[in-house]
Symmetry: C2
């Protein structure tokens, strides 16, 4: 998987959030799924360094930086073309450098590989917010064309020409492919730099996090023959979160109006069974009968375009399993809870109960399903609302509760209905546990990270409803475009900063 | 299902808790399962009244009282043979009355059916504890031979000869069978009383609770032609709980030593994946290598022989779905939470994923299973403990998390392993949500009710471990022999009390 290949694994945008109108972005937008945001591929593949990998139970997430002297020609970027010249670097050029210039500029020497040349991203001596621990720096190079770059650049001490964070994913079961990918990154880097592979390796460090950083340490280290640093998973998640939430339009959420308009009664009693094709919502307050579907304008989520500091908050990282981490206003964090009913549970159950063989197939099934054929609703038990307790008849009393009665004949239940029911069950449960912890620690903001959500409307909706339901609207579920890469971004960031060259 | 038949549905003991040695009990003990406690069947089937039914999503639970002038001849009962003579009743006799005496004693007249004759249980003018609402009375007739009877009898104003609460269960899907059963109870009662069915019906009232009390109201009312009173489900659960927890040996729990001895490390870090045949516990502190199994003496649960008032507490009622109800010290209650991941979910999933066709088969499968083949453990991700967070390698990181990787081929996973994994998943989750609510409301005692547990060791163990794990030992999971009948007992009790004869 070379970076220049038409990507298969990269299904998320680079750290530069391009405006949708940019020709650069349009070139790469895939059809249909929420994951197909514009991908900024640098015009010029520079040597890479600073590779980070987050190896979880199911997926290995890779992040690496590539430099591009020419930012993409999108309107927003042109308007805010970078400025500022670090004293000990060659000037950024707005025309593509020739090979020899590039080689000279990028010449690696171990002692300066972090500070000189084009291989390191911007280093801030002055963190963007005082809440950041001292060894975390901002990456302004990512912020070409965005509001972030403007604000951060004002504080720069040193900066480099723009570049991109690139993202790749592999199945942990195929960890060798991941290792080989990184190997090829390093080899290509040596080639472009005009140095030997041995020389290149001296300057490359892999920041590894997640459980697999420990489990596969020898594999990475012995195969790649580079330094591998193991970083704590929770720490990396939080660093990644703190960083990523500063990027405009990274964070998004369902608006209150959206949640309101799809609730069955139109009242503040929100359905936790979420929207579904068979559940016609009441006519919305504006008179329009709205239906949830993957890409209707009415259901566009709201993006956080002007991010403000997002702490304190609760991070709910949904991978194979789920970790809940509270983050204080000063950036201190603590893993306060978890649940084993996570993505791995849902995928595992659906792989046995439906013909689906991939996550996306399972989610596609769920979009067409009606959970009321397999779930036992309050109305099924009571014949009506349980009004004394405020339980609407459409609320789910028992997930999958209708299945056992029907004699256990699997053929009676469609994969679509089964998928929707279990998606709701897992999502509602995570939402409930998230809410309880947010309430316990008095946190209003609840971020959902991890590879589980994948921009899927029903999942986002269910989590949003659950938080709103339990909190009576006082708390908000927030989602991230780069949800699956928090740990790897955080690990990558930990490689940057003053005083990093300790032995 | 006539009460005198060798019972099929009655799988729990009568409200008289017989000592295990009593010949009466031994006659009826079934093999193998925890549910087979001694069943006290009255020597003499008296006319019944005061029938209560709790119709839930899956099961309809029936409770009815029968009088027996001769308590069973068990040692403990003989020693505490009843005393006290109500002023307006015939004296209790220790020899079986002849037919005509019985008929005379039991003659029904509408105005006195509650106060005279043998059809009503004991009524206390002075509740056992001041925390009871005024209209709830104790049933001392149940307490033949038990400590409860001794204590309550001292406070009696009126009492009747002993009798029993009888229990029956039906599938809600076969609600007609339940109705027919009650019909036959009433017919038999009329017969024994020597009255017409129409006359009998005037004196019979059915107290109905659960969702089905509303859904099936007409069915009960029109078929049986008796008064049917609908009672709130939550109220009945709590009344039943308050009553039942006073009976000696009703409440039981896993001792701390038991929990300690089966934890993997023998330390205070308790495994939440519970014991399993493939998980050999470390040698216990006493040097004995203990293994969990259904009936070893070492794993006998601890019974609460001297119950003290049990409020405040949290009741977790696990039926098809789960309700969590907090009960204050003064008996006031509030349903504070719930989850749709309950018994219905587990049975539904296992009915599709295994060959099992009954709950008991599913539980039997789970006893032989090893969840580590389908669950992703912390050790699978990390290769070791995640010691920084105190997460042992044997802890479950992702339930069912190994299933998706293996290509989705269902045949690779045994029904035993699948059953154990999902039993743990559902139980651990309920335990976690229960703990969080107990913590929120500062409650130490957590009672588990509902038909889910069925005295199954792995389930009890998992719930106990989960509470202990999350609470660090400060809270306790408590279980009830009559777990599934709280609502029906509560409904039944609501029929008793001064001033009940309002129109």
């Amino acid at each position: 998987m070379l970076p220049s290949a038409k990507v298969i694994h990269v299904d998320t945008r680079g750290a530069v959030i391009l405006s949708e109108e940019s020709p650069e972005a349009r070139k790469h937008i895939k059809n249909g799924t929420r994951d197909s945001r514009g991908i900024y591929l640098p015009n010029y593949i520079e040597p890479v360094s600073h590779i980070a990998v987050d190896v979880g139970g199911s997926l290995a997430k890779v992040v690496y930086f590539t430099r591009s002297p020419d930012p993409p020609s999108s309107p927003s970027i042109i308007a805010t073309r970078g400025s500022g010249t670090p004293s000990n670097l060659s000037s950024p050029s707005h025309t593509p450098p020739n090979e020899s210039e590039a080689a000279a500029a990028n010449h690696l020497s171990p002692s300066t590989s972090k500070r000189n040349g084009a291989l390191t991203p911007l280093i801030l001596g002055d963190p963007y917010t005082h809440t950041y621990p001292g060894n975390i720096s901002q990456l302004t190079g990512l912020a070409n064309g965005s509001l972030l770059r403007d604000t951060i650049l004002r504080r720069t001490v040193q900066h480099f020409p723009g570049g991109s964070l690139n993202f790749e994913r592999f199945e942990t079961d195929s960890i060798d492919e991941c290792v080989q990918f990184i190997q090829s990154l390093i080899e290509r880097s040596a080639e472009v730099n005009g140095v030997s592979i041995e020389e290149m390796r001296k300057g490359v460090k892999i920041m590894a996090t997640g459980g697999g950083a420990h489990k596969f340490y020898e594999l990475f280290h012995d195969t790649l023959c580079v330094e591998v640093r193991r970083e704590d998973e929770m720490e990396c998640l939080i660093e990644g979160l703190k960083f990523i939430t500063l990027i405009p339009d990274e964070v998004y959420y369902f608006s209150d109006e959206l949640i309101q308009s799809v609730s069955q009664s139109g009242s503040s009693a929100v359905r936790v069974d979420g929207p579904g094709p068979s559940k016609l919502p009441a006519v919305a307050p504006n008179g329009v009968l709205e239906r949830p579907s993957p890409n209707p304008p009415a259901y566009a989520v709201t993006f956080e375009s002007n991010p403000t500091p997002q702490l304190p908050c609760l991070l709910v990282n949904i991978g194979s399993g789920v970790s809940l981490i509270k983050v204080d206003e000063d950036g201190k964090f603590e893993r306060v809870s978890g649940t084993s009913l996570g993505g791995g549970t849902l995928w595992g159950l659906l792989s046995l109960l439906t013909p689906a063989t991939t996550f996306d197939e399972m989610l596609a099934f769920s979009e067409k399903g009606d959970n009321a054929t397999v779930d036992m609703l309050v109305g099924d038990i009571y014949g009506q609302d349980y009004s004394r307790l405020g339980l609407k008849s459409t609320m789910i009393a028992s997930s999958f509760g209708k299945v056992f009665k029907k004699g256990g004949d699997k053929r009676q239940f469609s994969p679509e209905d089964i998928s929707r029911s279990l998606l709701y069950a897992v999502s509602n449960n995570i939402g409930q546990i998230a809410y309880m912890n947010a309430e316990k620690y008095n946190l209003e903001r609840i971020y959902f990270g991890g590879c589980f959500i994948r921009g899927h409307a029903a999942t986002i909706g269910t989590l949003s409803y659950a938080i709103r339901f339990w909190s009576k609207g006082t708390k908000r579920a927030l989602f991230l475009r780069h949800e699956g890469f928090l740990g790897s971004i955080g690990a990558w960031l930990k490689n940057i900063g003053p005083g990093e060259d300790e032995a």
